[in-house]
């Protein structure tokens, strides 16, 4: 089956991203396809590379980055939600005159159309959040 995944909550405050990660990993291990993972609302914070969780805790962003590298996953951070919350890639930082970017490896910033497309193309869109 082809899944689309939507993550609506940030890391650590809420289990949504952990659960989405576990679901995505399990689906891939079972041979399913993940069309895209779309990060919305505070979910965009999963895509900042500047988080430094304690060493004995999981690093959720790093887990997503590694899973993306391993399975060629498309991790998309919503541009409108990300701009509000200060998650930027180099292009966005330049466009808005900011002195730094913070997008983590394996993530890309794009529009809400990518979420709608995931709904259209996937057999199931699974939403993780509150």
């Amino acid at each position: 089956m082809k899944f689309g995944i939507q993550v609506n909550e940030g890391p650590y405050n809420h289990q949504a991203s952990d659960t989405a990660y576990q679901f995505t990993k399990a689906a891939l291990e079972k041979g399913h396809e993940i069309f895209r993972v779309f990060f919305y609302h505070d979910g965009v914070y999963n895509g900042t590379r500047l988080g430094v969780p304690p060493q004995d805790d999981r690093n959720i962003t790093k887990l997503w980055t590694e899973l993306a590298a391993q399975h060629d996953l498309d991790l998309v951070v919503c541009v409108a939600a990300a701009q509000r919350r200060g998650v930027l890639d180099a292009d966005e930082a330049k466009r808005h005159g900011k002195d730094a970017d913070n997008i983590a490896p394996g993530f890309r910033i794009s529009g809400l159309g990518q979420l709608i497309e995931a709904g259209i193309q996937a057999d199931r869109l699974v939403v993780f959040g509150d």
Binding site: N8, L112, G113, L115, E117, G119, I120, L125, V127, G129
Partner: protein
């Protein structure tokens, strides 16, 4: 993009206090450009999103409720409001925005977008949709 799917946006939260309502509306408006079959539902505290007379001055936030009136222009014409959620909050349809659309199949007659439904009816509507996004 030839596939047409039935999208249902389910709004469950109050318009202010969290950003879910505002960012849900942004998805509905963007999604309208994809020419899918779109429905929007309001349940639980989500019914407050489309109450009329919202005044946000005291909380320093933008009152985005006028945007719901534009949904008809985006061809979002099926707006389901769950009756029990209204009743539980002491609300009735008179407290809601007067959301309309022009029906192109009926000589552009102006029609009501809001349809009050029971919980059971909303369950059937959910069953009949392909993609459900809940906010």
């Amino acid at each position: 993009m030839a596939k047409i799917k039935k999208f249902l946006y389910v709004n469950r939260k109050a318009p202010y206090g969290t950003i879910y309502a505002l960012e849900s509306l942004e998805v509905v408006l963007i999604g309208a450009a994809f020419e899918q079959d779109v429905s929007v539902a309001f349940v639980d505290d989500g019914v407050y999103q489309i109450t009329k007379g919202q005044d946000t001055q005291g909380i320093g936030m933008k009152n985005f409720s006028p945007t719901y009136s534009a949904l008809g222009d985006y061809e979002v014409t099926k707006i389901y409001v769950e009756k029990a959620s209204l009743a539980e909050r002491g609300l009735s349809q008179e407290d809601l925005l007067d959301l309309k659309y022009e029906d192109e199949d009926d000589d552009w007659a102006e029609k009501d977008s809001i349809r009050l439904v029971s919980r059971a009816e909303l369950a059937d509507i959910m069953e009949a949709n392909d993609v459900i996004l809940s906010f």
